[in-house]
Amino acid sequence: MVTAEQVWAALAEVPDPEIPVISVVDLGVVRDVRVEQERVHVDFTPTFLGCPALEVMRKQMEARIAQLGAEPEVEVVLDDSWSTDRITPEGREKLRAAGFAPPAPRSSDGPQLVQLQSKGFRCPYCGSRETALENIFGPTPCRSLRYCRDCRQPFEQFKTI
């Protein structure tokens, strides 16, 4: 019989299909793992509801658990228990190293336009805070586009949700 620790370790090897430098565990979307005999139950929280990567993540997690010789049962939890604050410190560092600015911490009143348009966001390439909002939306639902005025590099900023 597998242990919950083995399952967590195996899921830590399942990459995000769109940003493979980070795993589903780094992303914080695995909320709970319960082992009951041969069955492994995983509570999985979606990032963005319209994200096409969700189905791929679910299938990859099921396949990885099946490799351990267990029967996977991945349940999608449709509530607000995931936020970008759940991305682990390791996950944030991996994102930054790959050129994605990690999300800002969530504030009690949520994101505000003045905040997004301010210079507070750091460029993942040169570290400058002289960055400007180019577009609230980006190539995937989870990202915005910013531009660094110092190193003149556009970059993708994770939205805070």
Partner: protein, 196 residues
């Protein structure tokens, strides 16, 4: 049908149909950044519809896809505001502003629901909708003095009430049946029971 399923379907239908209408701007929005933004908003709305249909499907013993695509036009519960084909950008943005305002109020009510599943999903959806509201706010600021835009707002405003109050939804525009025909053409081209 239970009141809960009716409520879920009314909101899911709004989000699905609006998502499809918004996606009509993909590739032809006024400028590139807006193309990215409006396509992303459309994708989010369809994602919200899917999650809402999944809850409803469990209650009704069916699937989200069957609810989204296999009903007759008269069985849809969406508001007329989301059905309209609006080829002008000023009308599209006017609808966006009106819908987001109404949707914000609707989500606030749903978050306070005694039904934990509905309240939880509404809170999840609201985290994404914040960004739609910021986007609508930017456009409102940019266009608020433009006569074409304010005329579009005045024209569409009466239809926004039904977004908040499903009891005001009375029949559909002919545009809904046309859109459903288009939306389901690929699905209908395959034998029944095809898995996607």
């Amino acid at each position: 049908m239970s009141g809960r399923a009716e409520l879920l379907l009314a909101i899911a239908d709004d989000e699905l149909i609006l998502g499809w209408r918004d996606s009509e701007w993909t590739g032809i929005a006024p400028f590139l950044e807006e193309d990215v933004a409006f396509s992303s908003i459309a994708q989010n709305e369809v994602g919200h519809a899917r999650a809402l249909y999944e809850l409803a499907a469990r209650d009704l013993g069916t699937t989200a896809d069957e609810l989204a695509f296999d009903r007759r036009p008269e069985e849809y519960r969406c508001a007329q505001l989301v059905e309209l084909r609006l080829p002008g950008w000023e009308h599209t943005i006017a609808r966006h502003v009106l819908y987001e305002q109404a949707d914000a109020e609707r989500l606030e009510r749903l978050r306070a629901s005694d039904d934990a599943e509905i309240a939880g999903l509404a809170a999840k959806i609201d985290r994404e909708e914040v960004y739609h509201r910021l986007h609508a706010e930017m456009w409102l600021e940019r266009l608020k003095g433009e006569p074409r835009f304010t005329a579009a707002l005045d024209e569409l405003r009466p239809l926004a009430e039904a977004v908040l109050d499903p009891s005001l939804r009375d029949g559909h525009t002919p545009e809904l049946a046309e859109l459903l025909e288009e939306m389901t053409s690929v699905r209908r081209s395959q034998p029944a029971g095809t898995t996607w």
